[in-house]
Amino acid sequence: MNAAARKLILPGTIATLIVVIVLAAPILPLADVREMDIPNRFAGPSAAHWLGQDEFGRDVLARLIWGGQASLFIAVGSALAAATIGTTLGLLGGYFRGAVELLTVRAAEIILCLPPLLLALLVVTILGAGTWPLILALTILYTPNYARVVYAATQQVRGLDFVTAQRAMGTHPLTILMRTILPNVMPPLLVQMSLIVASAMVIESGLSFLGLGVVPPTPSWGLMIRAARSAMEVSPLLLVWPSLALAGTILTFNLLCDRLQSALDPRSITAGGALWLRRRTRRAAPAPVPATDQPPLLEIKELSVAAQDLELVRRVSLTVRPGETLALVGESGSGKTLTGLAMTGLLPDTLHVTGGSALYTGRGGDRIDLAALDEDAIRRLRGNEISMVFQDAAAALNPVLRIGDQVAEAISAHQTLDGAALQNRVLELLRHVGIPDPERRARANPHELSGGQRQRAMIAVAIANNPRLLIADEPTTALDPTIQAQILQLFAQLKRDTPEMGMIFVTHDLAVVAEIADRVTVMYAGEVIEEGPVAEVFSCPRHPYTAALIASVPEGGAERLVAIPGTVPSPRNMPEGCRFAPRCAFVQATCRENVPPATRPSIDRITRCFRWEEVT
């Protein structure tokens, strides 16, 4: 049983208990709810009357349990009636659409134009107080809720393949509705049910409290609270018991609904919170790293990233020198994006760096281990010395802030520029990344820009503080091919303008690599399997995976494309030896048993293959 289902036990048990006790009222040894005992009115708890006696000397406990029966009968009764009617309307409306939808779901929704309590009052005005008018009022009230929920669910299920298949086979619509769609819309229906029982109890008790609901002398919690109010000074406890019973029962049903929802739909629970926002104990400053003569800009050594026990990136090492562009290549799931996020401290909360270091040489020449920095320390570097361009600019820009403001805040995070100077810098940046008419675009919201312009704006944000290291995570993937070429040109231009800036270009597109990068690091299943200068790796790959990747690129003269058989192994099912072995054309027995070590075929190249000499 999973955690969500376990959480159902408590409210589920209490709800069952309440229902059982209330249903058992006739067979429980309770005092007569109408038997008055005027001399003992307002008597406190005693052996015969556990919760005391009310203003007529009647037994409070008995009235509480019988009152619960009245409340639950009305609430459950109307919830069931509304469910039957509403589900029918929703199913018909959602399945047939068109005019039927107008007559069923939309018609029911008119009821939602009236405030709920008001509608109930209206019905009671017309029919008079009492149990049955109340049930009718609540049924009318909650029918549209069910109709809406079922309508939405039906529309979803209706589009699924197995329903389309049945329709195509000529199954009668009613059969499809009853046999196929109804079972599939049950989960949201159940959730709605517990919610409505709770809500109906609120309205029932409220109307009874006003004297417009359950008619005395039938006991009801609302009526008991009403009576207790006038006796508050004599016996405050009389108010407390029915209040507790009422609020407790409603709370139980509400909790049941909440937990049912998370048990039935695990997606509704989003990954919890944000660790980076919580104040954490400051980490000890990492030990200083001895400076070398000409340190690289970034040197990642044996960096590993894991989610709990699942290792997603294993012992990745790579180096970026000032002015150099490194392409990080791999299929999706190879860990290339995670490597980028790990070195900027932007990993999702569920992932952690479990080993290794990322040594970065700062503006002042000091070497810092990025993987060991706390949030505040790395924040001062982010967007300042190290910045990122993300894949999907439409999602990566805040939809409700103007472009100019989003660029401006990136500048003000690390520099003190005032109004006019800041504005000028924003326009200068937008112009620099090739956005036409920057004065106007700066005032635009992200959705008013084209995809290419949005990505240009993202780049303007990234270069706002003249970073020394730019990490571009698939910056052209979400764009049209012609726009892709323009954005690549922009990156090439940025390289020319700032020759000392290092760049990591994360991509799965080898054509892009050839165009923009100096060196290439190929990742597979969370490991670096080959590294070297772009020209050399392309002309003479030293790993079968790289060779296969190059062969799969459509080139002008290529006779045919070679696809790599199989898929990237999942982190739960990593092969024991070489991770590429199951898909490798060069595989032999030793590959399956032993992990190939990183080997250097030449001074500036690395491969992780036993048979690298035979690949090309």
Binding site: L114, P115, L118, A395, A396, N398, V400, A413
Partner: protein, 319 residues
């Protein structure tokens, strides 16, 4: 944007018309003669001649469509008829009592947003932690306790035991502003507690969702301080659905303060409605129900427009 507002206004007007018509039909198709009801005193039957005269005067003998037309004409000119009980124009009573109900609702909304948004945000940041568990439980509990229970318990504690505040009643603001506000505090707080629970839960869910968005990661990648990310990027976006819910809840409350007004003897619009229902005073019931429905629909319209202003994407979708 203008087209969007025009379209939504048109839908709202249509809904108002539907509601007015339904209420009219409901009250005219039900069995029972209002004239007879009005003239009968308890079990003593009314004088048939008087009933007939009254029917004529009230226009009950006209065909239904004629009654409907004159009813609609009355609604359009702001004339909601005269009360059966005292003959006073219904519209005057509504004008007198509506502001009092608004006071309670606005006070409640201020309490709820002022506390609910920070509480919900805090719970979201600490999701699955202790603070979240405590806040979420109290929100569920507050949401599950009907207002008349909260109101009664609040009177028991603050008025009877502690004697800090009066148990209920009403004094006009012009007569005694301090006493007026003191009397307002408990009803507004009682409604506010319920609304607070709604806003807290909504803010929590909304902030949790926004925290997963890419643009929050972008804001972090910019190196912005935590507070600024939270304010400009997280809470600002998370507020959009919260404002929607607040607006809808306030709409529901216009007719839903019945219980609070009853508990605290606050002479607002809803209390008027209950007494009208009790007395079967049809012109009053129709007038109040219509006023509330119109306000409800209008408020929903305002919510939609405010939403479109907060979220520039919406106007793009519909035009």
């Amino acid at each position: 944007m203008l087209r969007y507002i025009a379209l939504r206004s048109f839908v709202a007007l249509f809904l108002v018309w539907v509601v007015v018509t339904i209420v009219f039909l409901l009250l005219h198709l039900i069995p029972g003669d209002p004239a007879e009801l009005l003239l009968s005193q308890g079990s003593i039957a009314a004088d048939p001649q008087a009933v007939a005269a009254l029917r004529e005067k009230m226009g009950l003998n006209d065909p239904l469509w004629q009654q409907y037309l004159s009813h609609m004409a009355g609604v359009l000119s702001g004339d909601l008829g005269a009360s059966f009980r005292d003959g006073a124009p219904v519209i005057d009573q509504i004008a007198l009592r509506l502001p009092r109900t608004f006071e309670v609702i606005i006070g409640a909304a201020l309490i709820a947003t002022g506390l609910g948004v920070p509480l919900g945000t805090w719970a979201a940041i600490r999701a699955d932690g202790k603070a979240d568990a405590v806040i979420s439980f109290f929100a569920s509990a507050a949401l599950s306790t009907p207002v008349f229970v909260v109101g009664s318990v609040v009177i028991l504690i603050f008025a009877q035991e502690l004697r800090w505040l009066p148990a209920g009643g009403f004094v006009a603001f012009s007569e005694d502003p301090v006493e007026h506000l003191k009397l307002l505090l408990l009803p507004a707080g009682t409604v506010g507690l319920n609304l607070l629970a709604v806003i807290t839960r909504m803010s929590r869910a909304s902030v949790l969702e926004v925290l997963q968005r890419d643009y929050v990661r972008t804001a972090r990648a910019k190196g912005l301080p935590r507070g600024e990310i939270l304010r400009r990027h997280v809470v600002r976006n998370a507020l959009i659905p919260v404002v929607t819910v607040l607006g809808l809840e306030m709409g529901t409350l216009i007719g839903g303060t019945v219980l609070v007004e009853f508990v605290f003897n606050w002479p607002g619009l809803s209390g008027y409605l209950v007494s009208a229902v009790d007395a079967r005073d049809y012109p009053e019931v129709v007038g109040i129900v219509m006023t509330i429905s119109i306000l409800f629909v209008f408020l929903n319209l305002v919510v939609d427009v405010v939403n479109a202003l907060l979220d520039p994407r919406i106007s793009l979708v519909t035009t």
